[in-house]
């Protein structure tokens, strides 16, 4: 804004004077403002809900004196702005209040349920990347061939399919009819609590303990929901990969490379693909963020004890502390991944300057 009419200050700048401290400062400011905004939105949601926060704590039959005591304890007598600052302060210290439903601290609850979501979303993203990227590249290289049509179909179905329905049908077919995988949940009843919990990621924990039966059971449980999420990120990743690759393949340096007599493999993978790597990482980061969020419905279908299920169950029980705490955590991760991909782009892609 103000830079528009200022004389170009960089014109005689030494080429060694780094520009990044300024950029970094700007980015940090953006992060801070966005997170503050996020907290503000959740705070306002928490204030406008028609649920009395005091009654939610003490129940309907408390006396007026008890009511007043809790009213003061929750700080509801203070001005709204002050309440907001207290809320921000609490959240920054990792304090989201106590869950009415579980009786635990919300932060403890989230710590407990988050690894399940992380495990699911990570496996889903891995599936999406390892199938989606090659599919997108092939679709671009063999444009308008059957593989391109296939990629298009995969994308179209992925964008149109209600994920919760596909999960149900998946359960019906692969669990109910074919019996190839285990049903809902993370682990069979017989295998609960066998492996010591280290990371909270069951697959990793089982590997550390060297327990193959538990690993197999956990894998058999996770493979269906993870493939489901993987399919949705695959649809997105392959579509973006295809469009990036098409852009590269029509560039002149590709013609040059071909004229030089490079093999098609080298042209595609060593030249074109190399140039889309950064764009691709940003897309994958976004897909990952979307899976962390999109797992809400999947977790419900597969009775997966993750953060999505936690938020929804709390919501239905009018347990707002948990809902808002979970929203803030997912929102922050979302913001974090967004900014990460943005930064990656800005710092490593010379064309973005």
């Amino acid at each position: 804004m103000s830079q528009d009419n200022a004389p170009a200050p960089y014109a005689r700048r030494s080429r060694f004077a780094p520009r990044w401290p300024r950029k970094l400062l700007g980015t940090l400011l953006t992060i801070a403002v966005t997170l503050l905004g996020l907290l503000f939105v959740t705070f306002m949601i928490g204030r406008v809900i028609p649920i009395d926060p005091v009654l939610a704590v003490i129940g309907e039959r408390a006396t007026q004196a008890q009511y007043d005591a809790v009213f003061l304890e929750l700080g509801l007598d203070k001005p709204l702005l002050q309440q907001f600052l207290i809320y921000v302060n609490d959240v920054l210290h990792g304090d989201f209040g106590r869950s009415i439903r579980t009786g635990q601290l919300v932060s403890e609850d989230i710590k407990r349920v988050f690894p399940a979501t992380l495990e699911l979303a990570t496996l889903g993203t891995l599936i999406g990347v390892f199938i989606g990227v090659p599919l997108g590249v092939l679709a671009a290289v063999y444009r308008d061939s059957w593989i391109d049509q296939l990629a298009r179909l995969v994308g179209l179905v992925g964008y149109s399919m209600p994920i919760f329905w596909m999960g149900l049908v998946g359960l019906l077919v692969f669990y109910g009819i074919l019996g190839w995988v285990e049903g809902p949940g993370r682990l069979g009843v017989f295998y609960q609590g066998i492996v010591p919990e280290r990371t909270g990621l069951l697959l990793v924990d089982a590997l550390i303990a060297g327990d193959w039966t538990v690993f197999k059971d956990a894998f058999s449980h996770i493979v269906l929901p993870a493939s489901l999420l993987g399919y949705f990120s695959l649809a997105y990743i392959s579509r973006m990969t295809r469009s990036f690759m098409l852009e590269q393949l029509s560039a002149e340096y590709i013609t040059t490379a071909r004229v030089k007599g490079l093999s098609e493999w080298d042209v595609v993978w060593r030249h074109a693909f190399r140039n889309i790597r950064i764009q691709l990482v940003t897309v994958i980061a976004l897909a990952y963020a979307n899976l962390l969020e999109g797992s809400v419905l999947t977790e419900i279908i597969f009775a997966w004890p993750g953060i999505g299920q936690y938020i929804t169950t709390s919501l239905l029980a009018n347990d707002m502390n948990s809902v808002l705490g979970g929203t803030v955590v997912i929102g922050s991760i979302f913001v974090g991944l967004n900014i990460f991909s943005d930064l990656l782009y800005r710092f490593f892609d010379p064309r973005a300057k």
């Binding site: 804004m1 953006t30 403002v33 966005t34 905004g37 996020l38 939105v41 959740t42 949601i45 928490g46 406008v48 809900i49 028609p50 179209l156 179905v157 964008y159 149109s160 399919m161 209600p162 994920i163 919760f164 329905w165 149900l168 049908v169 359960l171 019906l172 109910g176 469009s243 098409l246 963020a289 979307n290 962390l292 969020e293 999109g294 809400v296 419905l297 419900i300 279908i301 938020i311 929804t312 919501l315 239905l316 009018n318 707002m320 809902v323 808002l324 979970g326 929203t327 997912i330 929102g331 979302f334 913001v335 967004n338």
Partner: protein, 303 residues
């Protein structure tokens, strides 16, 4: 006017009036769209769904709420129930037909509210510039940074479950991309000569924005809205599935899937058929959206 001369009038290279030029532009767009088989397929499906929703009382074989516990969980085709019955013995076909009304109602409302909100915020930010622009865009970015379904969940929690609140929640999460688009369009328009000319004639900012900026933003917004329709349907169905959208006994498709979930292993049709309906309608919107984009915005086509 005969058919051929109407066609000639529409396809002329030298339109005689403004009306003819507009009609010709629409007609050539329609011809292009008609050449796109998949888009036409989407359009036909949508027209059929809209007709079905309009004629629901004629098509439904019984009331969508009529329970018959003696005839519960009947398989498709049994006792004249085309798609079978659900756990309360309600006819699934009749519920589907009435449910189309709810889905279309939600989509139509969101497709009006969200772009309008985005249009207002985006054009004001782009036209005013300066501090207002920075503040509004930061505000937009905050909303954009929120995960959509979770935000919609939180809003529904705050507002209470129900169709109208679901519409509001989805709109509140859907407007930021429209604001971005509207702002970008406004920035390219605001310094053009015709805006300066209107300003010299004494037009105020509100008149300029509403009469001269908005009409030019509409076409890019329309493309985006059509492409977003499927997403809106899926989010609405997701909310319904979670029990936060339309409330029972309303025949909302997402809620119907949710009701059938308990019986999925033994009575597959109760959950599967409404899900297929959701898939069909959102697929149709996606096909049509892709086709429309090719017609209205050739720059982006093929991406």
């Amino acid at each position: 006017m005969t058919q051929t001369s109407l066609r000639a009038w529409l396809l002329t290279d030298a339109p005689q009036s403004r009306r003819q030029a507009t009609a010709a532009a629409w007609y050539s767009g329609w011809l292009k769209l008609r050449g796109n088989t998949l888009a036409m397929l989407g359009l036909i499906v949508l027209v059929v769904v809209i007709l079905a929703a309009l004629c629901a009382p004629l098509l439904a074989t019984q009331s969508p709420f009529a329970q018959d516990l003696g005839a519960r969980l009947l398989a498709p085709g049994e006792q004249g129930h085309v798609f079978g019955t659900d756990s309360l013995g309600r006819d699934i076909w009749s519920r589907l037909v009435y449910g189309a009304r709810i889905s279309l109602y939600i989509v139509a409302l969101v497709a009006v509210v969200a772009p309008l909100l985005g249009l207002i915020i985006g054009t004001v930010a782009g036209y005013a510039g300066g501090v207002l622009d920075v503040v509004l865009m930061r505000f937009t970015d905050i909303f954009l940074a929120f995960p959509r379904l979770i935000l919609a969940l939180a809003f529904v929690a705050a507002l209470g479950a129900g169709i109208e609140n679901a519409v509001l929640a989805i709109s509140l999460t859907a407007w930021p991309p429209y604001a971005r688009i509207a702002r970008a369009e406004t920035l390219t328009i605001r310094n053009s000569d015709f805006i300066h000319a209107i300003k010299l004639q004494g037009a105020g900012p509100i008149r300029i924005i509403m009469r001269h900026v908005w009409p030019l933003c509409i076409s890019s917004l329309v493309i985006r809205v059509t492409l977003d329709m499927a997403g809106i349907i899926l989010t609405a169905a997701g909310l319904g599935f979670l029990g936060l959208g339309a409330q029972p006994p309303s025949p909302e498709w997402g809620a119907m899937v949710s009701e059938g979930r308990k019986y999925i292993l033994d009575y597959w049709w109760v959950a599967t058929i409404p899900g297929l309906a959701i898939f069909t309608i959102s697929l149709a919107f996606n096909l049509l959206g892709d086709g429309l984009r090719d017609v209205l915005d050739p720059k982006e086509a093929g991406k």
